[in-house]
Symmetry: C2
Subunit: 148 residues, 2 copies
């Protein structure tokens, strides 16, 4: 693996660790980390149940947290790793953040920003498929368990 | 004016009052209120500067605040009045909230959810043009002042 691939594996695993924390708490298991200059500056997972708030997706928490760390609104030199492709809301927030790059794990074919046609900032690079099997399986397990 | 038109004028004025509060604080002058059973249950304005957070749009604050008031995530019997057409992020959040209705003041031709093609929840009614001149003028004045 080259450096980029190694970094992708490393940081997506950290996002998956966040997703697993969410799962333990009965939250939809999606996690995210924000990376700047090779270091994690924010970690977050879905908290919609705990906060009783539909806006509390992993990405939203991570964007807010990273901005607080930086002391500025914009995440221009940052990369967001998130286990599942962002939804319209989160992609819309990422648009405003002017983040440098978004890397997702598994696609959300139904409600993800690709299917929904949400526009990211023209400066934002966007790619996915990192540890997608593991990221997707967490969601499958969660919804299987919830149907019981 | 019929009852609906009177209510629209009344609640949009409350949203405009919020927008004017934002203006006084140097924030982008956009305001919102959430109405349930004829009563305002949440008021909010843009706080992106004060919170150093691109996600702190009026609608996002209002959704979170209304959910806290209700004690539940979903705003199924609520109406959001917002002075400017919501962006992708806010429309995406409104999608998750399953809100009954969204009423905006002025269009945002560039970055509003109509131009951007953001999908609202199929149950959500969506209309605008209430006090649009006043809502739009607040933004024009703000950006004119900021360019000085």
């Amino acid at each position: 693996m080259n450096d980029q691939a190694q970094q992708d594996q490393y940081f997506m695993q950290k996002a998956l660790d966040e997703a697993k924390l969410a799962l333990k708490k009965g939250e939809i298991p999606i996690g995210a980390v924000v990376v700047a200059q090779g270091q994690i500056i924010a970690r977050a997972h879905n908290m919609t149940e705990a906060l009783t708030d539909v806006t509390a997706h992993a990405e939203m928490q991570a964007i807010t947290s990273a901005a607080h760390f930086i002391g500025g609104k914009y995440l221009k030199n940052c990369v967001l790793y998130v286990t599942i492709e962002p939804c319209q809301m989160c992609a819309g927030a990422l648009y405003w953040s002017q983040i440098d790059e978004v890397v997702y794990g598994a696609r959300d074919q139904q409600r993800g920003c690709i299917t929904m046609g949400t526009t990211l900032h023209p400066k934002t690079k966007f790619r996915g498929g990192i540890k997608e099997a593991e990221a997707g399986q967490l969601l499958v397990d969660f919804f299987k368990q919830r149907r019981k």
